[in-house]
Amino acid sequence: MIARCLAGTVLGFPLSGLLLALCLFWLPGHGQDWLIPVLLLFFPLWVGVMAGSYMFRSGARAWLALGAANGAVFAALWLSRHLAGG
């Protein structure tokens, strides 16, 4: 239980931030006009990931899956910036 809680709290934080960054990147004008409404979603997203991580069967799975999700979103963000010539 505590392992899943930690996984959701620790890995949910960067995951939420990276998801918002990715979302902003793909909005018109890199989301400048929507920055604050999108940032407002940070805490609901983070807490959502925390609550969701209790659905994993074990702590190890939670760490693995959330770690992989972080890696995937980070890669997507990096690729997006790279391909867009940023």
Partner: protein
């Protein structure tokens, strides 16, 4: 949903409640009072007891500030006093470091908003947003808000299977636990939108600085700062012209800002903050922030040239961008200042209901660990009962004590800042000690009774000291003071009712409980 999943979320909900419940109780009780921030400010310094040293105009304040600190001219702001109060404005300036001071203390500014210490309304606000602890308290309450969000989600998930069937069920009867559970669920679900607002905005307001730094580093390549500054900017970038020019008076600029704001179609514009860049320069930039009604973006700003009074940009009502509207409505939704008195009362009641939600959570925790067949109860439920009484009732009593201390300090003509804090924290500590030493059932009744008496006594004393004001024609200011006193009496009556209910429960309720009073029951014949 699988029953194992529900059990998991029950554990999450319990732990979230244990970790955050007490702080949330204080935040909601003090927050409910903070809805009437301006009225409490009036209560402390109504115009008929005004202190002339503090009652200065905005322009006088600026002149004194710049005479004492010429360097402040580059970047300073004046926080206006709530309209109609005798409290003066206070200044903020940044000459490399941040300073705050009221008009009579410009020679000894403080590094935090402590310039406003001694204002009862601000003290109650500080209890609400940080338990009154500078910096650390704010971050603590931010973490509490995050846990609160988790408690909301887990609570909703546990309750989801019976949500629709039980939503309006309130089953009084022999099963008291079910009644408490029904009340807890009904309040939790019906005021869920209100609670979601506070979980999100509370976390953002408290944790904004560290969150911003982390996001900037982690996900935005260090570019978040510029993007954010652009998103919330309310004025054009203006360079100083380098030549001096006479400034229009602050009052004249505020009037122009008001006229300009009203021309956008909002129905009001109540200025609460004025900011200057490069005062005395031909390109001086003035930003007047105010509260409007009949718009999503309650907080609006008008940017003007300080020398000519020309309006440079309008960020009010419909003229605001999606960013500004979100930013502004987030504050409005948190502070409940978007719909006049009706919304204020709604927020007050929902705030009290929120405090009840956390208190009833603790009661349910105790109730579900109760030994039904033994008079001896588990130690942890006794500890929880004592902590709930001491901390929760102690804070209600502590806030009443801060009101009383303010009155006494004014009577003795001393600075109320220290007496307020000493009275509030001292009373909370005493209440906790008392709840630990007395039998639980007695402590509950007595603390509630003392809290009831304190509320009524403070209100009556204030009604008496302002006796001369009640025989004059009533003004919005005197009505505000009267409103605070009558609300105090109403709260006192509420606490008295709770004291009576606890007393009856101690005597006649189920004997196998921490809330039963064994010694009093021995003295009288008790029916089952």
């Amino acid at each position: 949903m699988k029953s194992s999943t529900i059990r998991t979320f029950q554990t999450v909900h319990t732990w979230a409640g244990l970790l955050a419940g007490f702080a949330l109780f204080v935040a909601f009780y003090a927050g409910a009072l903070t809805v009437f921030h301006h009225d409490i400010a009036q209560w402390q310094s109504p115009p008929w007891r005004s202190e002339p040293a503090r009652d200065v105009s905005v322009q006088t304040m600026i002149d004194r500030l710049l005479a004492a600190h010429p360097k402040a001219a580059k970047d300073f702001g004046i926080v206006l006093a709530p309209p109609g109060t005798a409290q003066g404005p206070y200044a903020y300036w940044n000459d490399g470091e941040e300073h705050f001071a009221t008009a009579d203390r410009l020679d000894r500014p403080t590094g935090d908003e402590g310039a406003t210490r001694g204002n009862l309304a601000d003290f109650v606000y500080a209890l609400h947003d940080s338990l009154g602890i500078p910096v650390v308290g704010l971050y603590l309450m931010g973490i509490v808000s995050v846990i609160y969000g988790l408690a909301l989600i887990s609570g909703l998930l546990i309750h989801l299977p019976q949500l629709l069937g039980d939503l309006f069920a309130l089953r009084p009867g022999r099963n008291l636990k079910r009644l408490w559970q029904d009340a807890h669920n009904a309040i939790g679900v019906l005021s869920l939108p209100f609670h979601i607002i506070f979980a999100v905005t509370g976390a953002l307001m408290c944790l904004f600085v560290p969150l911003f730094a982390a996001l900037n580093l982690m996900a935005f390549d260090g570019k978040l700062g510029d993007a954010f500054a652009k998103a919330i900017s309310t004025a054009p970038a203006v360079q100083a012209a380098g030549r001096a020019a006479p400034m229009l008076s602050a009052e004249a600029l505020i009037e122009r800002a008001r006229a300009s704001a009203l021309s956008t179609g909002v129905s009001a514009f109540e200025p609460d903050y004025v900011h200057y860049d490069n005062y005395g320069d031909a390109n001086a930039l003035v930003q007047v922030r105010g509260v409007s009604q009949r718009t999503l973006g309650t907080y609006g700003t008008i940017a003007l040239n300080g020398a000519t009074g020309e309006v440079l940009e309008q960020h009010v009502g419909k003229t605001q961008s999606a960013n500004a509207l979100t930013n502004s409505s987030m504050y409005a939704l948190h502070f409940g200042n978007f719909g006049g008195r009706a919304v204020q009362w709604l927020y007050f009641l929902l705030g009290l209901a929120g405090a009840f939600l956390f208190y009833s959570g603790n009661l349910l925790w105790i109730e579900s660990r109760r030994k039904r067949r033994h008079s001896e109860q588990p130690r942890k439920t006794l500890v929880m009962a004592r902590a709930s009484l001491g901390v929760c009732l102690g804070s209600c009593l502590g806030i009443a004590a801060a009101f009383a201390a303010t009155m006494i300090a004014q009577r003795l003509a001393i600075d109320p800042a220290v007496p307020q804090q000493a009275a509030c924290y001292g009373v909370v500590a005493l209440a906790v000690a008392y709840a630990c030493l007395r039998p639980v059932a007695r402590a509950a009744v007595e603390l509630l009774a003392v809290t009831a008496v304190a509320h009524v006594a403070v209100a009556l004393a204030d009604l008496l000291r302002n006796a001369s004001a009640w025989i004059q024609p009533w003004t919005p200011q005197s009505l505000a003071v009267l409103g605070v006193d009558l609300t105090g009496i109403a709260l006192g009556v509420g606490f008295a009712w709770l004291a009576r209910a606890s007393w009856k429960r101690a005597l006649r309720g189920d004997a196998n409980s921490v809330w039963a009073d064994a010694s009093a029951r021995d003295g009288i014949r008790v029916e089952a």
